[in-house]
Subunit: 343 residues, 2 copies
């Protein structure tokens, strides 16, 4: 719903049609958001020639199947993160998109905020030297979640699936194009069988035999500050909370131990006072929607700010985290996939 | 030198005598700091009845031997951190101090700053709920260190021995009296064979089957912000940089996701403009010196703010880190100790 609202601040995008598991709920959604057309099924929507791009915003465990359907129909597709629940399926989708030569993107909206792009451009230009560490925290308190909350869904619940990916992608802000060397993840606390706190370190191979570090703290036990810091040999960038929807960054250029020259870069979000939002700062979806528009207008099959290789790398990091913390849904799913491979 | 200067702001402490490896250097030191008495040897100083407490501020690999000498002479002793270069020797010293029933303390000066004590008291009173994670960074750029710098000393060099202990002790600020469950440490980058960047997670067993996390980022590749954050289920404390010599903290009491009520607690350091310091904020040694005075005046054998058990826990954490990152000096030393045990 927030995504559709955010569309209206862009110049060239509008929601043309909607489909859902039941036509009734699709109709209800269409009415409350002023969407003209309601399709009987996902298939019908995918085959609607008036639709330029499909946005898949359904629950995570349906992403793979629906994205596959879209890509097979050669329909440009934006799928909400995660692309799929594991690397294998993410890889199948990316391969399919490339084979079909159709636009495909994972909705990692944080990457398209101007503040995040600015942080990345400063890093890429060497403004703060070689990156030594990227640190981020992200957490919200799940204590009031009802038993039917997505948080406790055995297949895709826990803080891993909910928010760890936001922190995993920060490594790509600090180490563009670097390969993952290894991942160490620990889940010291579970609740209802689901991972609550996760501490993970990801290491990236860089040129000159250097290794870049990403230090993640993810929790469902507390509302954290949600701050991200990119530490380079000549300075640091702090992505101001809330770092997954940033509107400004501060840059400290090193002038000595405990001393630095500070610069601020502000990118205020569009006015969002005209709408009710499910989540604060959802207006920021507009940046991602603009990116999709631009890619399609320029006939690009993927975005340079968040490539399909970036998506695959995140899926790889997430797989490592999910396996190392022993996420039960992921483990069961892995066994099933292995059994299918060996059958 | 900074330690002796800081003494002069305390009411009841003064440097009475000094000894060094050579009498000439002891004499030079005494002259520049107005110390009346110069001893021919460490033994002579330890046996001087006019001395109430000995401060061992020599290089780290001499701490064990000198502290042992002091304790055997039943002399109250403050030894600069680290107590020893490994857990085994730290344990021998602590056991000896308790056997001799004499005051003994490791000079972990950060723990005596009023801002650090305040952070601890808020945590202990449950002000920010159960602690979920403690995060800290500490780093300074070693690129200009000359080849003879202590940094490259094979026995006690690297960032592990230099500053990791400051971060290791933060767990004790968040989890007073908790036992260490396990430690995970990785050193992705070395320089001249010495550990430069270390990422370590320490987990503490807490009541109610909870596990507390400590996330450390230590580096010799960059001047970092040096910020510490203690995240609880109902709020967080930020120890303002530089966190190893803090003069203020901010406390955010959780009022919802992304929302909090903020409080500041300021504890300005004493005026230090009257002296030249080797390191900024060294005037803060005065807090530790006051603590030693108070303990001795009250006939206490250890400080409640940094107990000998705290020291042993730090030595244990450091041992784990040094072993896991493969610190060459520590590994060699371990082999020697094992050989001695088996002989």
């Amino acid at each position: 719903a927030d995504f559709v609202k955010a569309m209206s601040v862009t110049e060239s995008a509008c929601a043309h049609a909607v489909a859902a598991r039941s036509k009734a709920s699709a109709q209800k959604f269409a009415e409350s958001h002023g969407i003209k057309k309601v399709h009987d099924s996902y298939e019908a929507l995918v085959n609607d020639p008036d639709i330029d791009v499909v946005y898949i915003g359904s629950v995570a465990d349906t992403h793979y199947k629906l994205a596959k359907m879209c890509l097979e129909a050669k329909k440009p597709t934006l799928v909400e993160k995660p692309l799929a629940l594991n690397y294998d399926e993410a890889k199948l989708l990316v391969d399919l998109a490339r084979e079909q030569d159709v636009f495909f993107m994972e909705g990692m909206w944080s990457r398209f905020f101007p503040a995040m792009k600015k942080a990345r451009s400063i890093v890429d230009a060497g403004g703060i030297g070689d990156i030594v560490c990227v640190q981020g925290d992200f957490g919200w308190n799940t204590k009031d979640c009802t038993p039917d909350d997505r948080m406790w869904n055995p297949l895709s619940g826990g803080m891993s699936y909910d928010i760890a990916m936001y922190l995993a992608m920060l490594g790509q802000v600090g180490y563009r194009g670097a390969t993952v060397k290894n991942v160490h993840a620990v889940c010291p606390n579970k609740r209802n069988g689901m991972d609550q706190t996760i501490l993970a370190n990801v290491f990236f191979d860089k040129p000159d035999d250097l290794v870049g570090s990403l230090q993640m703290f993810v929790t469902g036990q507390a509302n954290t500050e949600e701050r991200t810091m990119i530490q380079g040999t000549r300075g640091r960038i702090t992505i101001t909370p809330p770092a997954h929807t940033p509107s400004n960054i501060s840059v400290n250029y090193d002038t000595g131990r405990g001393e630095s020259r500070q610069e601020f870069h502000d990118y205020p979000l569009p006015d969002d006072s005209w709408a009710q939002w499910n989540y604060p700062r959802s207006i920021g979806f507009a940046y991602q929607i603009q990116e999709v528009n631009e890619c399609i207008q320029h006939d690009l099959k993927e975005s340079e700010h968040f490539t399909l290789d970036d998506s695959l790398q995140l899926a790889y990091i997430m797989d490592e985290i999910l396996e190392q913390i022993g996420h039960e849904g992921w483990m069961e799913d892995k066994e099933k996939r292995n059994a299918a491979k060996n059958a």
